[in-house]
Point group: C2
Chain length 190, copies 2
DNA sequence: ACCTGAACACCGTTCAAGT
DNA sequence: ACCTGAACACCGTTCAAGT
């Protein structure tokens, strides 16, 4: 008597998530529904609104970022770990530009998203607690994160258009920032 | 015989620009038209599309930012000028959050926008040419810009939610970054 | 209990008709 | 020459009707 379920929360979230990978594939409720093999109104049985569905994708994305950072962060010294984590962050953002834009879209930040965000930032703060001391660890993490986020969003916005090697500029900036936070790797000449 | 003009390019651009200030005022062609005292279809006599009108607002915004930076940048040393310019940049972005988001929205970057962007960045590059040398001036400017842009967009996205003093974290990060780029203001102890 | 066609409100855009 | 009502396509969302 009851109509059988043709989809699920997870299947819809997966279909929605995929819309952010294929370039040119617009995110619309109709497109997600079609990808999930269901009609548009059925989505509203499982997600209250477009925003709620995007919230689910966003939360999943922060978990993905956390895993990517954990996999990328390695090295013998704090400096090496911060450097490898930074390159991992950049690689994730540039590999998933539209997903990354969703993660940091201004506006709503639900509690679950904030928790996922905090979890992805925790390892960096932990390293910096040792490297710069507990009283500056949070500010230092925000500095590093601001640089990373700013770099990738400006690349994606096409703001670095004056030529030059953008990859080299990232490496240069990262080393100078680590110099400032941790002290120079070698004492400056002169 | 000819119908008299009831508006102009500039009047429409001004009305559009204003939609980015009043909080909660959505940008729509209908809202802009109403603010300009004209019906929606008339906008298309002067701007080919919503995107073209937003492009005009964006170009004007970069000119505004350039003027704000010029006014804010002062000081006896390069470090002081970079610091005051950085605070001016941050103040502009935080005072006009929705306009700022438009300026760096991913996607199209028309030639006129790129020129306006380059003009707003030129003074910073000029200071850095002296401070870090011509071969690193562009990379250093991108580093500073990435930090500034990243900081303000993360503030606006509500990403800095772990408590602590965000203003102090900005000042801390800026000084550490200037240390890394220019060398520490005072030699590090130990 | 879940799915769906039909409908609604909204928005960007076009166009023929007015003056 | 510029303005406008009417219309179109598209999208998020709702809901009564199906099974």
């Amino acid at each position: 008597m009851a109509a059988p379920a043709k989809t699920s929360d997870d299947a819809i979230a997966t279909a929605a998530r995929r819309r952010f990978e294929e370039p040119g594939a617009e995110f619309s409720m109709a497109a997600v529904a079609a990808a999930a093999g269901v009609r548009t109104p059925s989505l509203y049985k499982r997600f209250a609104s477009r925003g709620a569905l995007l919230g689910r994708v966003r939360r999943d994305a922060f978990a993905e970022l956390g895993a990517a950072l954990e996999a990328a962060t390695h090295g013998a010294t704090d400096r090496e770990r911060l450097r490898s984590g930074a390159f991992g962050y950049r690689a994730f953002a540039l590999a998933h530009p539209r997903l990354y834009a969703l993660m940091f879209a201004p506006g709503e930040g639900d509690a679950a998203t904030q928790q996922a965000r905090a979890a992805s930032a925790a390892p960096t703060i932990e390293i910096l607690r040792r490297a710069v001391g507990p009283e500056h660890a949070l500010a230092a993490a925000r500095t590093l994160t601001a640089f990373l986020h700013g770099h990738v969003t400006m690349v994606q916005a096409g703001a670095f258009h004056l030529g030059g090697d953008v990859d080299a500029a990232f490496a240069y900036g990262l080393e100078r920032l680590l110099d400032g936070l941790l002290g120079p790797a070698v004492p400056p000449a002169e």
